[in-house]
Amino acid sequence: MKLSTRDRLGDILSYAFMAVMFVFFSWPLIWLLSMALRTRKEVFLGVSRLIPKFPTLDNFTMVLTSSQFPVYLLNALKLSCLSAVGCLIIAAPAAYAFSRFEFKSKGAWMLGILAFQMISPLVIMVPLYRYMARLGLIDSHFGTIMVYIALGVPMVTWLLKGYMDGIPKSLDEAALIDGCNRLSVFIRIILPLSTPGVASAFIITVIAGWSQFLVPFLLITKDSLVPIGVGIFQYAGTQNASTIQVLAAACLISVVPAIIAFLALQRLILSAMTAGAVKG
C-alpha cells in the first residue's frame, strides 16, 4: 500500500489528537496516584515531584488500618452486591416476558419502564425519605438496598431483554413441545444461556451501586453503616492541606474496585451498553 502525503499528514494529526486526549483523560488519575505516593514534604513540591523521590505506601496503610475505612468499603460492597442480585431477580422474569411474549401495548410498557430512568433520583428521594423515616427504615441497609434496586431495575430489564432477544426462540419451542412449562424453560434454558448478559448486567449494577451517593447520604446517618461514597465525602470535609496525600490515597482506594470490575468485563459491558443506545 502506498502512503500518500495526505494519509501521512492525517496520521500525524490523528496521533497528535489522541495524545492530547490521552493527557486530558489520564492526568487527573496520574496526579491522584502521584499525590497518594508522596510524603507530606513532597506534596508541596508540586509537579516537579510528579514521580516522588521518596515514594511511600504509608498513606495507603494509614487509610486501610483506620477504624472507619474498611467498614465503609465492606458496607459499599454489601449494598452494591445485594442490590445487584435483587435487581436481577426482579428484572429477569420481566425481560423474558418482553423478549418472548406478544401482548397488547408491550412497546408502551417497555417505554414506560425506560421513562422512569429520566426521573432524577433526587425527585423520588424527597417523598421516599419521608416514608422511610416513618417506617423506621432510616439507618437500615434493607431500605437502602430496596431503593438501589428500584434505581437499577429499568436498565437491567432492557439489557437482559436485549440479550435474550439474541437467543433463538426455537429453543423455547422445542422445550415446550417436550413438556416443559414456561417457568422451567426460563430457569433451565434461557437463564443459563444468558449468563454473559446476566454477568454484565450484574457488574454494571454493582458499579452503579458502588458510586451511589445521594441515597445512602440521606438514608444512612450512622457512621458504622455508611458506604464508601458517603464516607469519603465526609472524610474530605474534615481534611486540610496537610493531609491531602492521605485523602488522595483514600480516594484512590475508593475508585480502584470500580475500575477493576469494569476492566475485567469491559468487552461485555460495552456491547451491552451500545446495543441499547444504537438500537434506540
Binding site: 490523528s14 483523560f25 508540586g46 420481566a94 401482548f103 432524577s120 425519605y129 465525602f233 460495552l270 444504537v278
Partner: protein, 309 residues
Amino acid sequence: MSASAMRSKLPFLGAAVRHNRVPSPYPWLMPVILVMGLFYLYPVIDVFRYAFTDLTLLGGEGRYTLSTFANVLTRPELPQILWVTFVFTAGSVIGQQLIGLAMALVVVRSEKRNLFGTTILRTTALIAWVVPGIAGGIIWKMLFNEAPFGGLNSLLRLMGMAPVQWLSDPDVVMWSVVLSNVWRGTAFSMVVMYAALKAIDPSLYEAAEVDGASGRQKLFFVTLPQLRPAILVNMILITIQTLNTFDAIISLTGGGPGRATEVLSLYTFNVVFRNYDLAAGSVLSILMLVISLGLALVYAAFLPKDEKA
C-alpha cells in the same frame, strides 16, 4: 401463522399449544411493576401532592395551599439558578458530544490504518467514566487547588504561565465544573458514536468514492447524516444525565463560590434537606421533571419519523 396452521392440521394438540402460545405476561412483570410502582410512581404522585401543601420535614400534616407554587416560582434567586443550570448543562452536553464524536472518528480512522494507541485512549477515557461522581469531584478539587500542590496550576507554572483561580473566581468556576464533567462523561458519548460509526453501511462510502467525494464531503454528506439518530438519542441521554448531576458538584464546589455553581438539583436538595422545606422542594422537583421531559420531546421531534417507534 405457522403455529395456527399446525393447529388446524393437528386438532388434538390445539388446546395444549394454545395454552402455551398466549401466556399472560403479567405474572412475569409483577415484580417490576411492584417495585416501580412503590419506588417511582407513588413517590412521583406524592411529589405532585406535596407541591400543593405547606409540608416541612419537621413534622406535622400541613395544609393544602396554592401559595407554595407562587412563592417558589417568584423567588429572586431562581433565575440565577436556572441560568447556572443552563450553562452547566449546555456546556457539558456540547463538550461531551463534540469531543466524543471527534474521538470516535479519530479512533475509527486510526483503527483502519492500524495506528498505535487507540485501545489505550479508549480504556483511559472509560476509566474516567467509571470513577464515582463524589470521587471525581474530590480528584478535580485537588487538580484545581490553588496551593502549590494543585495539579493544574503547578503545571501552568512549570510552563511559565500565570496560575488560574479555578474555583474561587466566580467567572471561571463554571468552566472548571464543566471541564470536570466533560472529563467524566465523554467516554459514554465516544462509545455510542463509535458503535454508530461502525454500523454505517460501507457501500455508502464506496458510492461516495466512485462519485469522487473528498474526505470532508464524505464526513458532511455521508457520516454526519447517517449519525443523526444516534447523536440525538445520545444528546437526550447525556442531557438528562447532566441535569441530574449532583454528587460531582457537591464534592467539587458545594455550589459556590456564592451561588455560582448551584444547579437546580443541588438547589432542590438544599431546599428540602437543609431548609426542611418539603413543599417548596416538591415544586422544584416538578420543575426538574418538566425540564427533562420538555427537552426529551424537543430532541425527539428532530428524530427521523421511522426511528420514533
